[in-house]
Subunit: 688 residues, 2 copies
C-alpha cells in the first residue's frame, strides 16, 4: 500500500491482530553517480554529487501481480529430508513520480510469516546507485519481550539479553563484552535474528534471508514508538550498499508462530533462498570431527611453535632453526594420538589448528602477510600425517585462520585450496579474528559479505566444504551453497574457556542463530574444570548430560567432539552417545521449548531411521514429561537415556550423570529431569 | 645530530652553502597495539590505544657507523649501460630515552645529493607500529623557485606550476584540473619529485627512492618559513603506514647539481634501490609498439562493443546477441590493419585496448566485478589475432584496465597472466582509472603501493613485463624489478586529446617524473588537429619535429608510436625516425637543458653504437648550437636532421617539418632551430 505521500507501506497481521503495524519502506540513497562512459573525447569529467536523497516517497503503483507457489524440495543435508515451500506472492511495481526510477517490492506470505525484498529492474533510469541507508520499518504492535544481542558491525559473540524491546538502550552497555574485533554502533542497536514474544503468547522473529553482495542488516530500536528500523553495516566511508540494476536486496523476514516449538519448525529462511547452485553435490557430506583445538583454546597448548621471535615475517625466518616452545599442539606425535582416538571411535575427521607457520604474532597487528596457508611448522609433517589419517580411515580437516587479512587470504586462496586437494583435505575451517583488512571495512559490510561467499564458491570449484568462523551470520545460504556446512557467527563453546557463558545461551541459539543455518558450536566438553589441566580458572557452565543433549538440540551437519581424548577416555560410556548420534535427519520434532529456558528435540536419522532425542535447560532444574509418539508404530525400542545424576549441578557437580536403558514404545511418556545447567540425550534402538 | 631535546636533525650543504637548513626528523605514531598472542586462556582482550604520540625527540645516540661504497652496476635496460654507485654512508643508531625503542637513520651522501631513510631494528620494544605521520622536514635555505604539481592522493596528471615555493598556496587551486579520481588534500601540498632552483643557479630535487609497502610521500609547504614537511598518503581511516620491525622507510632524497644538465645525469634514485631481484632477466626487453588506442582516446572509436545496455553484468548478458555499436576499435579487421602496419615498419608489439568485455560501463560506478581480463568481445578473435601477429613477427600487448577495482583484479590476476602465457603475450599495460576499491583507499596509499608491486612480481613469475598507468609515481624500483618497463604516473599525451597540454610540459618531465623511472608517455602524434577525423576540438600542442624529439628526450625502454597508421602513412619520411630510433642506451649526453624551457639529449644505442639526438622546446622558438663532440673520433657521419620548417608553429602550422642530411664529425657544431612548441631529432649513421 502507499500513503498519501506515495510512501510504500506494509503491515502484518496474524489472525486479525497486528504483529507489525503499518510500517514504511524505502531507502536513503547517495546522490547519483554518472554511470556512462567517461567522455574521453573531450575532457575528463566525473559527476559525483555526494548529497543524499530519500527514495521512500513519491511512488506510484504501476502494476500488482499475485501468484502462489507450493513445492517440496530436498536439502542436501538438514533437519528434515523434505521441505515444503508454500507461499502466496504479491509483487508491487512502483515508479517514482519525479525521477521515473522504478522499484518493486516482492512479498511472500507463508503460514509462519512473511518475507519481502526490494527489487530494482534493469534498463531504467536507475543503473548504479549507492545506498546510504535502508529505511525498512518494523513497527511492533506492542512492547514485545525480546531475546537480543547488542548491535555490532564486527561481532556476534555476545550473550543474549532478555528484556522488553523498549528496554534495549537501558541494557545495551552491560551487554557488551570484549572481543578481538567489535564495533557496537548505537545503544539502540540489536542484531537479527531477533526473537520476540507477544503478551498473547505469539513468537515473532525478524531476520533476513539470502544475504548476498549486500551489507548485513541490524535493527535500531525506537524505544518510545516500539519501531525497529533497518540499519546496514557501513563501508570505510560510511556508505552501505553499492548496487547495479537489475538487483534486489536480501529478504526481510518476519516469522510469526503460535508457539516456541513451531518457531523452531519454521523453514521460512531456507525457503526464501535459491535452490542449490551446484549440479553435483556428491562430495558434500556431514562431518563428525575432533580437533587439536580445545587444548589451545583452554590454554594447555599453543598454536605458535616458538617463542624466539617478538614478531615474525614469513619467509624471512627459518623455523627449522627456531627453538620450539614445547607447547605447540599441532605436532606429529600429538596429532597421531588424536588420529588414533578419533579413528577408533568412528569419527570422520580431525581438525588441526596451528599447523601452519605464522602463529607467533598473528592477531591484532594489522599484519597484511600474516599466513600463507601452505607452509607447515617443522614438527607437522603434512604429507605423513595425512597419509597416516588416510590409513586410519579419517581425514584431516584444514584450518585457515585469516586474521581478517582478507586480501592476503584471497591472494593465497587458490594455492591453499589446491594444497588441500593434493593431500586429500575436503573441508576447511576458516576464521576471521580481529579487525578487517582493508581497514575501515567491517565483518558484516558488503565488502566482506562478498568475500565470504567468494571463499565458499571458490572452495566448491575444489570440492571443498567450508566452515567459516567470525563470518557474517547465516541467512539460509546453505540451501544454495550446501558446501557451507557450518559457521560460527555467535558465541560458541570457546567462551566457556574465556570466562564462561550462562547456561540459558544454548536455549536461545536454536531460535536465533540457527534460524539462518547450522552453527559449529563445538559441544562435548566433559572436563568442566579447566584448572585440572591448565592454569585457566574458567569453568564450563554445563553438565556432561547437557553437552550430550546439544548434539540434538543444536542442529548441524558438522559436529565436533571438542574435548581432549583423555577426558573422553574417562567417560567412555557417556562418550558413546557422541559416537552414536547422527548428523543428518529425515524428520525433526520440536517437543518442548521456551527460549531462555529449555529446548527438547527428537530427530530421525536420514539413513538409518534411528531416533535420537536431546534436551537442554538453563540454570533451572526442570523435569520433562516427553511423549514418545514420534516413534514408529508397532515397534519397541531400547532407549538409552543419558541424564544428569540427581545431585548434578553445573556449578558444583557437572560431571555427574547416569545412563539408563529402558524398553519403550510410541505409547510411552518418559520423564527426565535435567539438573541446573543440565540436559539429557536419548538414543532409541528398535528391538523388532 | 641531535638537538637539546634529543630531536634528530640533519642539514645539507653544497660547497659550504646550506641547501637544506637544519631540519627535524621523526614520526607521529599511533598508540601501540598489543602485539602478543591473544590471551585465549582467560578472556579475550585487545589493547588498542588510539591516541598518538610523537616519536621525534628524547632520542640518544647509541652508535655511529661510517662507511663508503663505490661500485658500478649494469642495468637490464637504461640510459646508460654502466652506473656508478658511489657514496659515503653514515648510520646513526638512536634509542628513545623513555621507551627504549630503537630507530636508526642511514644517510648516503653522493656527489649529486643525499638519500636518507629511517630504519627500525627487530628484536626490540617496537614490533608493530602505525605511523600517523612522518615528520621529515626539508628546511629550504631560501625561497627556491620550483616546478611543482599540486599534491593529490590519487592523481599526478596535472600540469606543472612554476613559482617560488612560498607561492604554492596562492596558485594551488588554479593548478587543479579534472581527473577521474583526485583528492587534492591541502593548498600547501606538492608532489615529488619536486624540482627547484636556487638564486645562485643550483638545481635541487626532493623525491623518494625504493617506495615499497609504505605510503607515498607528498610535501606540505610552510610558505613563511620555506620549510617542506613530509605528508604521507592516508588509508581509509586516516592512518598512514602499518609497520613491522625490522623495517625501513623509503629513502628520502635531495639531489643537488650545479646545472640542469647534470641533474638529468643524476642516478641517485636508481642507486638507492636494491639490485635486480631476478636471477633470469633474459625475458625482459625494450619494446617499440603501436596501439589500437589513440583512436579511442581521441574519440574516433570506442572501447565498448555495444550501446544496447545501460549497464552490464559480466556473465549475465550474451554479447553475441548484442548489437555492435559500429565504433568498436578492437575488431579483427582493424586490429589486422594495425598488425600489418606495425609489422611492416619493424615494431615489436601492438597494444589493443577494448578487447575484453565490460567496457560499456566500466568507469566510476564503484563496480566490483567490472572486468574478467579474459573474455574477448565477439569481434576480437584472441587466438587468431595472436597467431596472425606471430606470423607477422610481432606480439600483441595485453591490456588490463582494472577500473581501480583492485580486489577484482587480484582475484583474476593469475588466470589473466596464464591466458597471456597461453597466447604468447609478454607485456601488459595495466590501468587504475577512477576511485580505488576498496573504498577509502587512495592510489598512493600503502595498500595500493603494496598492490602495484604485487602485480609486478606476480607478472615476473609468468615472465611478463608490466606498464602500469595511474599507478604510484616511480621511485627507481625498475632497478630491482626491471620487468616494470613503464609507468604513466603523470600527464601523458592523452591529455592532448582532453583539451591539450602546454608545450613546456615535456621540458619539465625529464627532471621530475622521469627521475624515478621511465614513462609511457606515448608520443608520436602527427595529426595535431583531431577534428580532421573526430568531432574532438582538442589540438595537440606540438609540432611533428617535437614529437620526434621526445623519443630521445623522454627516456623509456617502452616507446609507443601513438598515432593512427593512416596518419603516419602521410609522413613516412618523418616516421622513419620513429622506426630507426633505439630504445636502450649505452651512453646519454645531456647537451642543453633548462626546466620549463628546453631539453636536448644525445644517446648512443646499446647494441649498434648508433647515436641519436633529440630536442624539444616550450612555446618559445629557440636555436640550439650543438657541439657533436660526443661522436666517435676519426669518423664521419651522415646526420639525418628532422627539424621544424621555418614557418612551423604548434598553434598554426604544426605539421611543417623538413628533413636534411649532412655529413658531420665530432669537430662540428650544428645549429638547429626549434619552432614554438617544436623540437628536432637527429640520427647519425657512420660513414666509415
Amino acid at each position: 500500500m502507499l500513503s498519501n505521500e506515495g510512501k510504500p507501506m506494509y503491515a502484518l497481521k496474524y489472525s486479525d491482530n497486528y504483529i507489525i503495524l503499518p510500517s514504511a519502506l524505502g531507502f536513503e540513497l547517495r546522490g547519483n553517480i554518472k554511470a556512462t562512459e567517461l567522455d574521453f573525447g573531450k575532457t575528463i569529467s566525473k559527476t559525483d554529487s555526494k548529497p543524499s536523497r530519500y527514495f521512500n516517497d513519491h511512488f506510484k503503483v504501476v502494476n500488482i501481480y499475485r501468484d502462489s507457489f507450493d513445492q517440496t524440495w530436498n536439502p542436501v543435508w538438514g533437519e528434515e529430508s523434505e521441505i515444503r515451500n508454500h507461499y502466496n506472492e504479491l509483487l508491487v511495481d512502483l515508479v517514482h513520480s519525479e525521477t521515473s526510477e522504478r522499484m518493486s517490492i516482492r512479498f511472500r506470505l507463508y503460514n509462519d510469516g512473511v518475507g519481502f525484498r526490494y527489487e530494482f529492474p534493469g534498463n531504467q533510469n536507475l543503473n548504479y546507485f549507492v545506498i546510504k541507508e535502508e529505511l525498512t520499518e518494523f513497527a511492533l504492535a506492542d512492547d514485545y519481550f525480546a531475546w537480543w544481542l547488542p548491535g555490532d558491525y564486527d561481532t556476534q559473540e555476545y550473550e543474549y539479553v532478555e528484556s522488553r524491546i523498549s528496554q534495549v538502550p537501558k541494557h545495551f552497555q552491560n551487554a557488551i563484552s570484549g572481543n578481538s574485533s567489535q564495533t557496537p554502533f548505537s545503544i539502540n542497536g540489536v542484531q537479527t535474528s531477533l526473537l520476540m514474544k507477544t503478551d498473547s503468547g505469539l513468537y515473532v522473529n525478524i531476520h533476513e534471508a539470502a544475504l548476498i553482495d549486500y551489507p548485513c542488516m541490524h535493527l535500531l530500536v525506537n524505544p518510545r514508538k516500539k519501531v525497529l528500523v533497518s540499519h546496514l553495516t557501513p563501508d570505510a566511508q560510511g556508505w552501505k550498499g553499492y548496487m547495479q540494476t537489475p538487483c534486489s536486496t536480501p529478504w526481510r523476514t518476519v516469522q510469526v508462530t503460535p508457539s516456541a516449538e513451531t518457531m523452531l519448525d519454521s523453514r521460512l529462511i531456507l525457503n526464501l533462498n535459491e535452490p542449490c547452485a551446484y549440479d553435483d553435490v556428491s562430495w558434500i557430506h556431514p562431518v563428525k570431527y575432533m580437533g587439536v583445538w580445545w587444548e589451545m583454546i583452554s590454554g594447555a597448548g599453543s598454536w605458535a611453535y616458538t617463542s624466539d621471535y617478538p614478531s615474525v615475517k614469513l619467509g624471512k625466518i627459518d623455523y627449522a632453526q627456531a627453538e620450539p616452545n614445547g607447547r605447540h599442539s599441532a605436532n606429529n606425535e600429538n596429532v597421531r594420538k588424536y588420529i588414533d582416538f578419533a579413528s577408533a571411535n568412528g569419527f570422520d575427521a580431525l581438525l588441526v589448528e596451528g599447523w601452519n607457520i605464522g602463529w607467533e604474532d598473528w592477531a591484532d597487528c594489522s599484519k597484511d602477510y600474516v599466513f600463507d596457508f601452505q607452509t607447515p611448522y617443522p614438527d607437522f609433517d603434512l604429507e605423513a600425517l595425512n597419509e597416516y589419517a588416510r590409513t586410519k580411515g579419517i581425514k584431516l580437516m584444514m584450518h585457515h585462520e585469516t586474521s581478517s587479512s582478507v586480501r592476503n587470504y584471497e591472494r593465497h586462496m587458490e594455492d591453499a585450496y589446491a594444497l588441500m586437494n593434493q593431500y586429500g583435505y575436503d573441508a576447511v575451517k576458516s576464521g576471521y579474528v580481529g579487525d578487517i583488512l582493508p581497514r575501515g571495512e567491517h565483518h558484516y559490510g558488503q565488502w566482506m559479505v562478498n568475500h565470504y561467499l567468494h571463499a565458499v564458491t571458490q572452495a566448491a570449484r575444489h570440492r571443498i566444504m567450508v566452515n567459516a568462523h567470525e563470518a557474517v551470520r547465516p541467512t539460509g545460504l546453505c540451501r544454495t551453497y550446501p558446501n557451507l556446512i557450518g559457521n560460527e557467527s555467535a558465541r560458541g563453546t570457546e567462551y566457556q574457556a574465556f570466562g564462561g557463558t550462562q547456561p540459558n545461551h544454548v536455549t536461545i541459539l536454536p531460535f536465533t542463530r540457527l534460524n539462518g543455518g547450522p552453527m559449529d558450536f563445538t559441544p562435548g566438553i566433559f572436563q568442566m574444570d579447566l584448572s585440572t589441566f591448565t592454569n585457566n580458572t574458567s569453568k564450563v557452565n554445563a553438565t556432561i548430560a547437557n553437552q550430550l543433549g546439544l548434539y540434538v538440540t543444536m542442529y548441524s551437519p558438522l559436529q565436533m567432539a571438542a574435548d581432549l581424548p583423555r577426558h573422553y577416555a574417562q567417560f567412555m560410556d557417556a562418550f558413546q552417545f557422541i559416537k552414536d548420534v547422527a548428523l543428518d535427519w529425515s524428520e525433526s520434532r520440536y517437543l518442548q521449548a521456551e527460549p531462555g529456558d529449555y529446548v527438547v528435540i527428537a530427530r530421525k536419522a536420514k539413513n538409518s531411521g534411528q531416533w535420537f532425542l536431546g534436551g537442554v535447560t538453563d540454570e533451572q532444574q526442570r523435569t520433562f514429561d516427553l511423549a514418545l509418539d514420534f516413534l514408529e508404530p508397532d515397534c519397541n525400542y531400547e532407549a538409552t537415556i543419558y541424564r544428569d545424576a540427581p545431585d548434578a549441578d553445573y556449578r558444583t557437580n557437572p560431571q555427574a550423570y547416569e545412563i539408563v536403558k529402558q524398553t519403550v514404545s510410541r505409547e510411552d511418556i518418559i520423564s527426565i529431569t535435567a539438573a541446573p545447567g543440565g540436559g539429557f540425550a536419548v538414543s532409541f534402538d528398535a528391538l523388532n
